[in-house]
Amino acid sequence: MDNKRRKILKIAAATAAVSFTGLPIETFASYLPKIGKYVRSDKEKKAKQWGMVIDTRKFKTKEDFERVIKACHSIHNVPEDIPNKKQEIKWIWEEEFSHAFPDQENPFLAERYEHKDVIVLCNHCQHPPCVRVCPTKATFKREDGIVMMDFHRCIGCRYCMAACPYGSRSFNFRDPAPFVKHKNPKFPTRMRGVVEKCLFCYERLEEGKLPACVEASNGAIIFGDIFDPNSEISKVLRENYTIVRKPELGTGPCVFYII
Protein backbone atom coordinates (compact mmCIF):
# COMPACT_ATOMS: atom_id res chain seq x y z
CA MET A 1 0.00 0.00 0.00
CA ASP A 2 2.54 2.51 1.16
CA ASN A 3 4.92 1.30 -1.51
CA LYS A 4 2.36 1.94 -4.24
CA ARG A 5 1.71 5.44 -2.99
CA ARG A 6 5.38 6.24 -3.05
CA LYS A 7 5.66 5.04 -6.60
CA ILE A 8 2.79 7.24 -7.74
CA LEU A 9 4.30 10.25 -6.00
CA LYS A 10 7.63 9.58 -7.68
CA ILE A 11 6.05 9.41 -11.12
CA ALA A 12 4.08 12.58 -10.43
CA ALA A 13 7.25 14.40 -9.34
CA ALA A 14 9.16 13.23 -12.41
CA THR A 15 6.32 14.32 -14.70
CA ALA A 16 6.18 17.71 -13.03
CA ALA A 17 9.96 18.10 -13.32
CA VAL A 18 9.80 17.38 -17.04
CA SER A 19 6.95 19.79 -17.63
CA PHE A 20 8.76 22.56 -15.75
CA THR A 21 11.81 22.35 -18.01
CA GLY A 22 9.87 24.44 -20.50
CA LEU A 23 11.09 22.41 -23.46
CA PRO A 24 8.67 21.96 -26.32
CA ILE A 25 6.78 18.71 -26.42
CA GLU A 26 8.69 17.71 -29.59
CA THR A 27 11.78 17.15 -27.45
CA PHE A 28 10.16 14.20 -25.74
CA ALA A 29 7.98 12.88 -28.55
CA SER A 30 9.97 9.80 -29.43
CA TYR A 31 7.50 8.68 -32.07
CA LEU A 32 8.80 11.36 -34.42
CA PRO A 33 11.53 10.14 -36.77
CA LYS A 34 13.98 12.63 -35.40
CA ILE A 35 17.45 12.20 -36.80
CA GLY A 36 18.27 15.70 -38.05
CA LYS A 37 18.15 19.09 -36.32
CA TYR A 38 16.02 22.13 -36.92
CA VAL A 39 17.53 25.61 -36.94
CA ARG A 40 16.43 29.15 -37.69
CA SER A 41 17.54 31.07 -40.73
CA ASP A 42 20.63 33.15 -40.02
CA LYS A 43 19.38 35.92 -42.30
CA GLU A 44 16.07 36.21 -40.46
CA LYS A 45 14.77 39.65 -39.48
CA LYS A 46 13.58 39.66 -35.88
CA ALA A 47 11.06 41.79 -33.97
CA LYS A 48 8.78 41.82 -30.95
CA GLN A 49 5.84 43.16 -32.93
CA TRP A 50 6.03 43.89 -36.61
CA GLY A 51 4.06 46.92 -37.68
CA MET A 52 3.45 49.16 -40.65
CA VAL A 53 2.93 52.86 -41.28
CA ILE A 54 1.09 53.70 -44.48
CA ASP A 55 1.62 57.23 -45.71
CA THR A 56 -1.64 57.81 -47.59
CA ARG A 57 -0.33 61.14 -48.93
CA LYS A 58 2.11 59.24 -51.09
CA PHE A 59 -0.57 57.12 -52.77
CA LYS A 60 -1.60 59.55 -55.49
CA THR A 61 -2.42 57.74 -58.71
CA LYS A 62 -4.22 54.50 -59.52
CA GLU A 63 -0.84 53.14 -60.53
CA ASP A 64 0.54 53.64 -57.01
CA PHE A 65 -2.13 51.32 -55.63
CA GLU A 66 -1.92 48.76 -58.41
CA ARG A 67 1.84 48.41 -58.22
CA VAL A 68 1.70 47.60 -54.50
CA ILE A 69 -1.25 45.20 -54.82
CA LYS A 70 0.31 43.41 -57.77
CA ALA A 71 3.63 42.98 -55.96
CA CYS A 72 1.84 41.08 -53.20
CA HIS A 73 -0.73 39.12 -55.16
CA SER A 74 1.66 37.90 -57.84
CA ILE A 75 4.22 36.34 -55.49
CA HIS A 76 1.60 34.76 -53.23
CA ASN A 77 -0.46 33.19 -56.00
CA VAL A 78 -3.57 35.15 -55.08
CA PRO A 79 -6.30 34.44 -57.67
CA GLU A 80 -7.43 37.40 -59.74
CA ASP A 81 -10.52 38.30 -61.76
CA ILE A 82 -12.86 35.85 -60.07
CA PRO A 83 -16.16 36.66 -61.84
CA ASN A 84 -18.34 36.71 -58.72
CA LYS A 85 -17.24 39.79 -56.70
CA LYS A 86 -18.47 38.21 -53.48
CA GLN A 87 -15.97 35.38 -53.92
CA GLU A 88 -12.96 37.63 -54.45
CA ILE A 89 -9.70 36.84 -52.65
CA LYS A 90 -7.85 39.85 -51.25
CA TRP A 91 -4.64 40.12 -49.27
CA ILE A 92 -4.13 43.85 -49.76
CA TRP A 93 -6.59 46.14 -51.52
CA GLU A 94 -7.99 49.63 -52.08
CA GLU A 95 -10.78 50.79 -49.79
CA GLU A 96 -12.75 54.03 -49.61
CA PHE A 97 -11.69 56.24 -46.72
CA SER A 98 -15.19 56.25 -45.21
CA HIS A 99 -15.33 52.44 -45.29
CA ALA A 100 -11.87 51.94 -43.87
CA PHE A 101 -12.43 54.53 -41.12
CA PRO A 102 -16.20 54.61 -40.42
CA ASP A 103 -15.52 56.22 -37.04
CA GLN A 104 -13.90 59.23 -38.76
CA GLU A 105 -17.02 60.03 -40.69
CA ASN A 106 -18.45 63.48 -40.35
CA PRO A 107 -20.79 65.35 -42.68
CA PHE A 108 -18.34 68.23 -43.06
CA LEU A 109 -15.29 66.09 -43.80
CA ALA A 110 -13.01 67.79 -46.31
CA GLU A 111 -13.87 66.57 -49.76
CA ARG A 112 -10.39 65.31 -50.44
CA TYR A 113 -10.89 62.69 -47.71
CA GLU A 114 -14.43 61.78 -48.52
CA HIS A 115 -13.50 60.24 -51.84
CA LYS A 116 -10.01 59.24 -50.96
CA ASP A 117 -8.92 55.63 -51.33
CA VAL A 118 -6.56 54.02 -48.84
CA ILE A 119 -4.69 50.77 -48.97
CA VAL A 120 -5.83 48.17 -46.41
CA LEU A 121 -4.63 44.75 -45.31
CA CYS A 122 -4.58 42.50 -42.26
CA ASN A 123 -3.77 44.64 -39.21
CA HIS A 124 -1.82 41.89 -37.40
CA CYS A 125 -3.58 43.01 -34.23
CA GLN A 126 -2.00 42.85 -30.81
CA HIS A 127 -5.20 41.18 -29.57
CA PRO A 128 -6.46 39.40 -32.66
CA PRO A 129 -10.10 38.31 -32.38
CA CYS A 130 -9.64 35.81 -35.23
CA VAL A 131 -7.10 33.88 -33.17
CA ARG A 132 -9.46 33.69 -30.20
CA VAL A 133 -12.22 32.06 -32.19
CA CYS A 134 -10.23 29.64 -34.34
CA PRO A 135 -11.21 26.13 -33.18
CA THR A 136 -8.15 24.38 -34.63
CA LYS A 137 -5.42 26.93 -33.90
CA ALA A 138 -4.95 27.24 -37.64
CA THR A 139 -4.53 30.95 -37.09
CA PHE A 140 -2.25 32.04 -34.28
CA LYS A 141 0.03 34.85 -33.20
CA ARG A 142 3.72 34.29 -33.78
CA GLU A 143 6.42 35.47 -31.38
CA ASP A 144 7.17 38.35 -33.74
CA GLY A 145 3.55 39.50 -33.68
CA ILE A 146 2.53 38.21 -37.10
CA VAL A 147 -0.98 36.75 -37.18
CA MET A 148 -0.09 33.56 -39.03
CA MET A 149 -2.22 31.11 -40.98
CA ASP A 150 -1.47 27.39 -40.98
CA PHE A 151 -3.33 26.41 -44.12
CA HIS A 152 -2.87 22.75 -43.30
CA ARG A 153 -5.07 23.06 -40.27
CA CYS A 154 -7.75 25.34 -41.65
CA ILE A 155 -11.09 23.53 -41.81
CA GLY A 156 -12.91 26.43 -43.44
CA CYS A 157 -15.36 27.13 -40.61
CA ARG A 158 -15.03 30.89 -41.24
CA TYR A 159 -15.34 31.88 -37.57
CA CYS A 160 -12.25 34.03 -38.10
CA MET A 161 -13.98 35.90 -40.90
CA ALA A 162 -16.93 36.63 -38.66
CA ALA A 163 -14.59 37.78 -35.89
CA CYS A 164 -12.38 40.05 -37.98
CA PRO A 165 -13.77 43.60 -37.91
CA TYR A 166 -11.66 44.63 -40.91
CA GLY A 167 -12.78 42.12 -43.53
CA SER A 168 -9.17 41.11 -43.93
CA ARG A 169 -9.95 37.47 -44.57
CA SER A 170 -11.21 35.83 -47.74
CA PHE A 171 -12.73 32.40 -48.17
CA ASN A 172 -12.03 30.15 -51.13
CA PHE A 173 -15.55 29.38 -52.30
CA ARG A 174 -14.10 27.63 -55.33
CA ASP A 175 -10.80 26.16 -56.45
CA PRO A 176 -8.58 29.22 -56.89
CA ALA A 177 -6.01 27.53 -59.17
CA PRO A 178 -7.63 28.39 -62.55
CA PHE A 179 -7.56 32.08 -61.57
CA VAL A 180 -3.85 32.17 -60.83
CA LYS A 181 -2.45 32.93 -64.24
CA HIS A 182 1.27 32.85 -63.51
CA LYS A 183 2.00 30.55 -60.62
CA ASN A 184 4.99 31.44 -58.50
CA PRO A 185 6.70 28.04 -58.10
CA LYS A 186 8.27 29.18 -54.82
CA PHE A 187 4.99 29.62 -52.93
CA PRO A 188 2.02 27.27 -52.55
CA THR A 189 -1.46 28.06 -53.82
CA ARG A 190 -4.59 27.33 -51.81
CA MET A 191 -7.54 25.01 -52.30
CA ARG A 192 -11.30 25.28 -52.04
CA GLY A 193 -12.54 25.55 -48.47
CA VAL A 194 -9.72 27.43 -46.73
CA VAL A 195 -9.54 31.02 -45.50
CA GLU A 196 -6.60 33.18 -46.47
CA LYS A 197 -5.13 36.62 -45.76
CA CYS A 198 -1.94 38.67 -45.64
CA LEU A 199 0.88 37.04 -43.62
CA PHE A 200 3.18 40.11 -43.47
CA CYS A 201 5.51 38.21 -45.84
CA TYR A 202 6.85 36.00 -43.05
CA GLU A 203 8.64 33.98 -45.75
CA ARG A 204 10.50 37.07 -46.98
CA LEU A 205 11.38 38.25 -43.46
CA GLU A 206 12.99 34.86 -42.90
CA GLU A 207 15.21 35.52 -45.91
CA GLY A 208 16.09 38.97 -44.57
CA LYS A 209 13.89 40.82 -47.04
CA LEU A 210 11.15 43.39 -46.46
CA PRO A 211 7.51 42.59 -47.32
CA ALA A 212 6.74 42.80 -51.04
CA CYS A 213 4.29 45.71 -50.72
CA VAL A 214 6.80 47.74 -48.72
CA GLU A 215 9.46 47.17 -51.35
CA ALA A 216 7.10 48.17 -54.18
CA SER A 217 5.71 51.24 -52.43
CA ASN A 218 8.66 53.59 -53.09
CA GLY A 219 8.75 54.67 -49.46
CA ALA A 220 5.01 55.10 -48.97
CA ILE A 221 4.91 52.16 -46.56
CA ILE A 222 7.31 51.92 -43.62
CA PHE A 223 7.79 48.56 -41.93
CA GLY A 224 9.52 47.67 -38.68
CA ASP A 225 9.39 46.69 -35.02
CA ILE A 226 6.92 49.01 -33.27
CA PHE A 227 8.05 47.80 -29.82
CA ASP A 228 11.66 48.77 -30.50
CA PRO A 229 11.99 52.48 -29.62
CA ASN A 230 15.07 52.84 -31.84
CA SER A 231 13.53 51.48 -35.03
CA GLU A 232 12.77 53.71 -37.99
CA ILE A 233 9.06 52.98 -37.69
CA SER A 234 9.00 54.06 -34.03
CA LYS A 235 10.61 57.32 -35.06
CA VAL A 236 8.00 57.86 -37.78
CA LEU A 237 5.23 57.08 -35.28
CA ARG A 238 6.64 59.58 -32.79
CA GLU A 239 6.94 62.34 -35.35
CA ASN A 240 3.66 61.98 -37.23
CA TYR A 241 0.01 62.00 -36.26
CA THR A 242 -1.29 58.55 -37.18
CA ILE A 243 -4.64 56.80 -36.94
CA VAL A 244 -5.62 53.12 -36.90
CA ARG A 245 -8.78 51.38 -38.08
CA LYS A 246 -11.59 51.00 -35.50
CA PRO A 247 -9.42 51.57 -32.39
CA GLU A 248 -12.53 51.50 -30.16
CA LEU A 249 -12.74 47.71 -30.58
CA GLY A 250 -9.53 47.20 -28.62
CA THR A 251 -7.90 44.86 -31.12
CA GLY A 252 -4.71 46.91 -31.15
CA PRO A 253 -4.08 47.15 -34.90
CA CYS A 254 -0.42 47.35 -35.93
CA VAL A 255 -1.03 49.06 -39.26
CA PHE A 256 -0.99 52.84 -38.84
CA TYR A 257 -2.06 55.54 -41.28
CA ILE A 258 -0.70 59.02 -41.86
CA ILE A 259 -3.60 60.92 -43.41
Partner: protein, 129 residues
Protein backbone atom coordinates in the same frame (compact mmCIF):
# COMPACT_ATOMS: atom_id res chain seq x y z
CA UNK B 1 -24.55 -38.39 -41.77
CA UNK B 2 -27.79 -36.61 -42.40
CA UNK B 3 -28.13 -34.42 -45.48
CA UNK B 4 -24.83 -35.68 -46.92
CA UNK B 5 -25.88 -34.72 -50.42
CA UNK B 6 -26.40 -31.11 -49.33
CA UNK B 7 -23.45 -30.67 -47.00
CA UNK B 8 -20.75 -31.99 -49.31
CA UNK B 9 -21.65 -29.82 -52.33
CA UNK B 10 -22.03 -26.94 -49.88
CA UNK B 11 -18.50 -27.49 -48.57
CA UNK B 12 -17.14 -27.71 -52.11
CA UNK B 13 -18.77 -24.40 -53.04
CA UNK B 14 -17.45 -22.89 -49.81
CA UNK B 15 -13.85 -23.89 -50.55
CA UNK B 16 -14.22 -22.73 -54.12
CA UNK B 17 -15.28 -19.28 -52.94
CA UNK B 18 -12.74 -18.92 -50.18
CA UNK B 19 -9.79 -19.80 -52.41
CA UNK B 20 -11.08 -17.67 -55.26
CA UNK B 21 -8.50 -14.86 -54.86
CA UNK B 22 -5.63 -17.35 -55.01
CA UNK B 23 -6.37 -19.07 -58.26
CA UNK B 24 -7.93 -15.97 -59.82
CA UNK B 25 -4.49 -14.34 -59.69
CA UNK B 26 -2.74 -17.39 -61.16
CA UNK B 27 -0.98 -16.56 -64.37
CA UNK B 28 -1.21 -12.80 -63.83
CA UNK B 29 1.89 -10.60 -63.68
CA UNK B 30 3.64 -10.66 -60.32
CA UNK B 31 3.94 -7.47 -58.26
CA UNK B 32 6.78 -5.25 -59.38
CA UNK B 33 8.37 -2.58 -57.25
CA UNK B 34 7.77 0.86 -58.64
CA UNK B 35 10.74 2.48 -60.38
CA UNK B 36 10.71 6.20 -59.68
CA UNK B 37 13.04 8.23 -61.87
CA UNK B 38 15.95 9.24 -59.65
CA UNK B 39 17.87 12.50 -59.98
CA UNK B 40 20.88 12.18 -62.27
CA UNK B 41 23.36 14.82 -61.15
CA UNK B 42 23.10 14.26 -57.39
CA UNK B 43 23.85 11.07 -55.55
CA UNK B 44 22.33 11.52 -52.13
CA UNK B 45 18.92 12.38 -50.74
CA UNK B 46 18.46 14.43 -47.59
CA UNK B 47 18.87 11.32 -45.49
CA UNK B 48 19.70 7.70 -46.45
CA UNK B 49 17.65 6.37 -49.33
CA UNK B 50 16.24 3.55 -47.19
CA UNK B 51 15.28 5.96 -44.45
CA UNK B 52 13.67 8.35 -46.92
CA UNK B 53 11.66 5.59 -48.50
CA UNK B 54 10.20 4.64 -45.13
CA UNK B 55 9.92 8.04 -43.49
CA UNK B 56 9.57 10.79 -46.08
CA UNK B 57 5.91 11.38 -45.21
CA UNK B 58 6.67 11.95 -41.56
CA UNK B 59 9.67 14.09 -42.36
CA UNK B 60 7.43 16.26 -44.53
CA UNK B 61 4.86 16.60 -41.76
CA UNK B 62 7.57 17.61 -39.35
CA UNK B 63 9.04 20.08 -41.85
CA UNK B 64 5.65 21.65 -42.33
CA UNK B 65 5.02 22.18 -38.62
CA UNK B 66 8.54 23.44 -37.98
CA UNK B 67 8.28 26.14 -40.65
CA UNK B 68 4.69 27.16 -40.19
CA UNK B 69 4.38 26.92 -36.41
CA UNK B 70 7.90 27.09 -34.93
CA UNK B 71 9.76 29.46 -37.29
CA UNK B 72 12.48 26.88 -37.94
CA UNK B 73 13.32 27.29 -41.59
CA UNK B 74 16.35 25.02 -41.99
CA UNK B 75 17.01 21.34 -41.50
CA UNK B 76 20.47 20.03 -40.66
CA UNK B 77 20.59 16.37 -41.63
CA UNK B 78 22.37 13.62 -39.73
CA UNK B 79 25.54 14.27 -41.78
CA UNK B 80 25.46 18.00 -40.91
CA UNK B 81 24.32 19.37 -44.27
CA UNK B 82 21.98 22.34 -44.02
CA UNK B 83 18.84 22.38 -46.19
CA UNK B 84 16.22 25.07 -46.55
CA UNK B 85 12.91 23.49 -45.54
CA UNK B 86 10.54 23.52 -48.46
CA UNK B 87 8.57 20.98 -50.40
CA UNK B 88 8.56 23.04 -53.58
CA UNK B 89 11.96 24.68 -53.34
CA UNK B 90 14.02 21.80 -51.88
CA UNK B 91 12.51 18.34 -52.57
CA UNK B 92 11.36 19.31 -56.03
CA UNK B 93 14.65 20.96 -56.94
CA UNK B 94 16.31 17.55 -57.04
CA UNK B 95 13.23 15.50 -57.80
CA UNK B 96 12.27 17.59 -60.78
CA UNK B 97 9.13 15.71 -61.67
CA UNK B 98 6.17 14.79 -59.54
CA UNK B 99 4.78 12.45 -62.21
CA UNK B 100 8.00 10.53 -62.75
CA UNK B 101 8.98 10.40 -59.11
CA UNK B 102 6.37 10.78 -56.36
CA UNK B 103 3.45 9.51 -58.42
CA UNK B 104 5.32 6.41 -59.61
CA UNK B 105 5.19 4.96 -56.09
CA UNK B 106 2.00 6.55 -54.89
CA UNK B 107 -0.15 5.28 -57.75
CA UNK B 108 1.15 1.79 -57.17
CA UNK B 109 0.35 1.81 -53.46
CA UNK B 110 -2.86 3.83 -53.87
CA UNK B 111 -1.99 6.80 -51.72
CA UNK B 112 -2.81 10.25 -52.98
CA UNK B 113 -1.30 12.90 -50.72
CA UNK B 114 -3.48 16.02 -50.87
CA UNK B 115 -0.41 18.26 -50.72
CA UNK B 116 -0.62 18.98 -54.45
CA UNK B 117 -4.03 20.58 -54.13
CA UNK B 118 -2.08 23.62 -52.99
CA UNK B 119 1.61 23.00 -53.46
CA UNK B 120 2.75 23.71 -56.99
CA UNK B 121 4.25 20.68 -58.75
CA UNK B 122 7.16 21.35 -61.14
CA UNK B 123 5.01 20.22 -64.09
CA UNK B 124 2.44 22.94 -63.55
CA UNK B 125 5.08 25.59 -64.05
CA UNK B 126 6.79 24.17 -67.12
CA UNK B 127 3.37 23.75 -68.73
CA UNK B 128 3.10 27.52 -68.54
CA UNK B 129 0.01 27.44 -66.35
Amino acid sequence: MYDKDKIIPGLIIFFFLITFPLWYNLGQAAYESPKPKLPVNVKKCIEDTEWMRANHMELLNEWRDMVVRHDMTHYVNSAGVNYEISLQKTCMKCHTSKKEFCDKCHVKVSVSPYCWDCHVAPEEVTNGQ
